[in-house]
Every structure is written in C-alpha cells, then in structure tokens.
Amino acid sequence: MDAELTNLVYYVPPHVDGYVYPNEQNLLWSTLIVVYPYITGLVAGAFIMASLVRVFKVKALEPVYRLSMLTSLAFLLCAPLPLLFHLGHPERCLQIMMTPHLSSPMAMFGFVYAWYMMAVLLLELWFDYRRDFVAWSANVRGLRGILYRILTLGVHDVSEQALRLDDRMGKIISLVGIPSAFLLHGYVGFIFGSIKANPWWGNVLMPIIFIFSAIVSGISLCVLMYLLLNWARRQAQDINCLDAMGKFLFYALVVDASLEALDWIHRLYAAEESIHILKSLAAGRLFYTLLVGQVCLGTAVPLVILGGLQLFSRHVVPQVRQHLYTLSAALILFGVLAMRWNVVIGGQLFSKSLRGFTTYKMELAGHEGWLMSIALLVLPFIILGVLVKLFLPQKSPVTRTETGAAVSQAA
C-alpha cells in the first residue's frame, strides 16, 4: 500500500535481488489470478463432495448434498470474473470462444466452463429440484412464485415414473460430473503445468495436485457452510454428517499432502538446474506463505487434528469434535489459498534466468488490486446466501432423501 501511495508521486522500481530479465521486474499475474484457481477449485471440490452422496451413496452426507451443489453453483458463477477483470481487453473475451487457438490450454476455458455449468451443474440441479419447483410453484406467490414457475420449464409431471427418471438422470449426470469436475480443475492446473519456461510451474504433477487441493478446499468449504447454515438457523449440527465429511476431508488431505511432498522430493532428488533458485524461493520470499501458511498451518496441523479424530473420535465429545472440524476446515481453506498464492505469485518472483528475485507490489485499489480480489472472494458467498434463501428453505417440502425414498418405494 505504501508503494501504491508513493507511486502516485514518483515511480518506485521493484526491489530486485540478483539479476532478473528487465521485462520480468513487474509481476504480470496478480491476486486476481490467485483468486481464479481458488474459486474454480472450490467449485470442483464442492461438486465432488455432492457426488459422494449421489454416486457413492454415502448416506451420512445426505444433509449437505444440496448445500454443496448450491455452493458449487455460487462459486461457478463467479469463476470467470477474475480472469475477465484481469484481461487487458475484457471486451475481446468472447474471442476465446469464437476463435479459439486449439493449441493453447487457456483457449479451452470457455468450453470446459460452459460444459461444466450447462451440462453438469445446472442440469443436475434441475433434475434434483424439479419436484420441489413444481410444489413451490403451486404454493408460493409473488416474484418467488414466478421464479419457481419459470424454473419448472413448463414440466409439471411429478408422477412416480417421472420422478424415477429424474433420479436416474441425476445419477447419470453425477457420473459424468465427476470426470468433468476433474477436467475443470485439472485444466486449471494444466495452464500452469504446461509452461515449460517456468520450472516452478512446468510440472506434470501440477494438474493432479490442483485437483486434490480443490477437493480438500471444496469439502472444507462445505463443512464451514454447513456449520454456518445450521448455526444461523439455530438447528442442531448433525455430528454424523460432520464426522463423515471429516473422514473424507482427511483422506483427501492425505493424498493432497502426499502429492505435494512427492513433488518436492522429486525436485530435490532430481536436483535440476533450477533447484537452487527454488530452494531460495521457498526459504526466502515464500517462507511465510509456503512453509508457515501452506505446509504447517494449512496441511500439517489439519492432518494431525483430522487424523487424531479418526483414531480417537469416540473419546472426544461431539461439541469439541465440531470445533475441531471447524478449525481444520478453516485452516485448510487458508492453506489452499496460500498454495494458490505460492504457485501464481511465487512462480513470478524469481527470474527465468534463474539468477535473482523481484518483489510483488500489491495494488490496493486498481482493477488488479486486492480490494477487487476480496470483492470477488466475497461475491460467491453473497450469491450463495441468495441461493440458500431461494432453494434451501428451512422447511423444505421435499428433501433429496425423501425423493430417493419415494422413488425406491415406487420401484
């Protein structure tokens, strides 16, 4: 912020240690590009969380199914915004879809995004909610009633046969949705992983590390949203549901931490030309965000807490367990944000000449400033609030469990 203020008066060159190519002194990708993979990861993770119910039939997670789907949708609606605001010419953004250059991974964004939103998320939500839309459109008046009537798309058939079809379609879309969610976030990882010019990014493990960090962040977000929703509605927390989420969170975190450890073990063992600068990067410029934020607070502490809860769950009272899950989920969300920072900002802090470091001067107000990034991080929560108000009423006329039960009874 100081630099931002002083820049108003005179130009402050970035502080450079060693030698960096002149064009690399100012960072090109800023906090907006940190926020972009973070939001996309939350979309994919929340969807995977929901598909644990649909595809893998984890009964304990039923109460959080719809909330995860809505979380995924709220964040998906905001996912392209950071990219859009970051563009030098946002008015030309449609060119990515109109004239995509197929050898560029970034050109696929529009298609992957459209596929995920249209063919997976909206469709699955529609099939899942169709029965409720019909019920609500009959009961609710006013603007909300009109909205529900529009959302039925004119289909008011709630016969057993139609509901069974809804359920089957939901399952099929969920099945397609899992690889799609992997594609959505794996592709974001590939954007970085495909840059061979940058040894911090150009890494074959990058897409899969992104996928697993997405899953842990998505589940953590669902844990927090579930706790928050129940707290706001003064409902009792379903500790079985929380335990189940904690279990899956722990498993995903183990895989995520192993992959990241493998990445470092490989880098240190192979000890290629870039290893000296990367070690200096980790121990210097990224010390607080990588070693303290991502590794210790974001990974090690939640691993110990969640691992301990897996072993000694019976000896910990539900109230304490709930607090520990809250703490772990918050730490993981912070750790994954730190991970995105380390990848995006860290990858630009050192020179491709491997001879020095530059510094990142964070803007305050500009269109790449951190106020904008915070706004973009808050926006999905506001959207989620609206979605919950509209589609997750306290007394839901029909829950998914009941629909499922009705269908199975009918079958």
Binding site: Y21, H101, K352
Partner: protein, 282 residues
C-alpha cells in the same frame, strides 16, 4: 458449337460422358463459383493481416526465412541497439519494457583455495543497457572475464508463446518472425509467461502483449532491423536463409565459429544464433 450427330453422341456416351458425370461437373463448377468469393475474401483477409503487420503490399513472406546471429566477442555494450529499438518501435520508456536489451556478465576469479575454474558470476542490465553501462564496481583484479550479451526475441521454430496464445493473436509468419496482432490480443499475458527468454512484456498503453517484431515494417522493405542498423561493432548480423550467398556475413560467421542457442533443452529451436556464448548465459 454445332450439335453432334446422334451416332457421334452415342459414341461420346460410350466414352464416359454420362448424365451423372455431367451433373457432377456442373455441381463442381457451381461449388467452385460459390467457393471463389469466400476464397477471395480469405485471401484478402490474409493480405490485410500481412499489411497490418507493417509489410508493404506485394511482399511475399514465403520467399524469405529471416534469422539473426550475434557475435558476443564483438558487442561493446554501447546500448545503441536498445535505444534505436525503443525509438523505432515506440517501446514504453520505463526501464521495465524492452524488445531488446544487453546483459553484462562479469565472472570473478575463484577465491584463493576455492577449487573451481571460476568464481561468482555477476549479471546486470541497468536500464536494459540503454545509454551504455556504468563503470563496474568490482575491482579489476578480482575479475576473470567480462562480456556483453544482447538479448531479443529468439525467433523460435517451435515458439511457446504462439502455442499458448488462446486466440491466435500471436502468430508465426512464414518468413520466420513471431508477431502479435495488437488489435486481436486480449491481453491475458499467457504468452508472456510462456516465453522462456523474458522477451515479451505487457504494453501498458495498448494493454496487449508486445515483443520484438524483428522490425517487420523495415525488413519487409529490404531494410535491416533498427538494432542491426545502428550496431557500430557489427555484433548483430541479420540474414535471410532462403537468399543467402556464401559471402553473407552470417554464412561466414557460421563457417568460422561454434554457434549456440539459448536454453536449447527447452526444444524451442531458436533462430537467433550466438557465437562465443558462455555457459553462464541463460
């Protein structure tokens, strides 16, 4: 044309002039007629594209293959090339935007008792080398050797920047230049990240990616790039692979020197060749 008598017509049919073939030929002609207009438009668009690159009308990019060779032994670090490039191509004046720049390498002697052929390497490029370099702060007796290395777009055969552009605003021309269409670039910066040589920058005025164009507006008119033109030491040589005689300065350089490219392990196959490149240069 007089109509053929019935018998002759019969023989013609016998030779293969069937109704089907006639119809196919007719459809072909119609299709050709329909395709001609879009083809003309496409050709005009391509021509317009080349004119937008700064090339004059009538310039045939398929008849050339440009390359650049740099003789490191000859560079004196005067920085005229950097200044000429900035003026010729309206490169932003700030010291963080360069289409070409010069790096100064100072390799120190090994410390006493240090079992190494050389000591620490110190690299700098104050203001990209424009206006020359200030006197070196390292005492003369500590220096093993020093040299200057001009840098510019490496004219990669497999350019990662072109590969990564999501809309095709960056493109390889048939004559070997890598250009940016500032009217089409969306300014995502992916190409800037993808360039291993740090040769691209984000132009704060056009809000698009920008880079060395090999002075395309000059070379397509038979002139040399500005940096080559002003180099007083002939450290930068410019040539055309498709029209290169044995007396061409580049041909001579190739015969008499060991040549190297920057970061060959990345497989980009640059067409900027360096004579006398030290292993310290990245």
């Amino acid at each position: 044309m007089p109509c053929a008598p019935p018998t002759q017509r019969g023989t013609m049919i016998g030779k293969g002039y069937t109704r089907r073939k006639s119809l196919v030929a007719l459809a072909g002609a119609a299709a050709g007629f329909l395709v001609m207009a879009p083809a003309r438009k496409a050709r005009a668009a391509v021509q317009k594209l080349f004119t937008s690159t700064g090339a004059p009308k009538g310039y045939d990019p398929t008849q050339h293959k440009w390359l650049m060779a740099i003789n490191i032994e000859r560079c004196i670090g005067c920085g005229l090339c950097v200044e000429a490039c900035k003026k010729e191509n309206h490169v932003p004046p700030q010291p963080t935007y360069f289409r070409t720049w010069i790096e100064r390498y100072i390799i120190k002697k090994p410390r006493p008792g240090q079992a190494a052929v050389q000591g620490e390497t110190v690299v700098d490029s104050p203001n990209g080398g424009a206006g020359g370099f200030p006197p070196c702060e390292i005492p003369r007796e500590e220096i093993l050797k020093a040299f200057y290395v001009p840098k510019l777009c490496n004219l990669c055969e497999h350019s990662p920047c072109t590969q990564s552009c999501p809309v095709g605003a960056t493109f390889d021309t048939p004559d070997g230049a890598v250009l940016v269409d500032p009217k089409y670039c969306i300014g995502c910066g992916f190409c800037i990240q993808a360039c291993p040589y740090g040769c691209r920058y984000f132009n704060p005025y056009t809000r698009t990616a920008d880079k060395c164009s090999l002075c395309y507006h000059r070379i397509t008119r038979g002139l040399r790039p500005a940096c080559v033109e002003v180099c007083p030491a002939e450290a930068r040589l410019f040539g055309d692979l498709k029209n290169m005689g044995p007396d061409d300065p580049i041909a001579k350089l190739v015969r008499t020197n060991k040549l190297h490219t920057l970061k060959p392990h990345l497989g980009t196959e640059p067409r900027v060749l360096y004579a006398g490149l030290d292993k310290e240069v990245r």
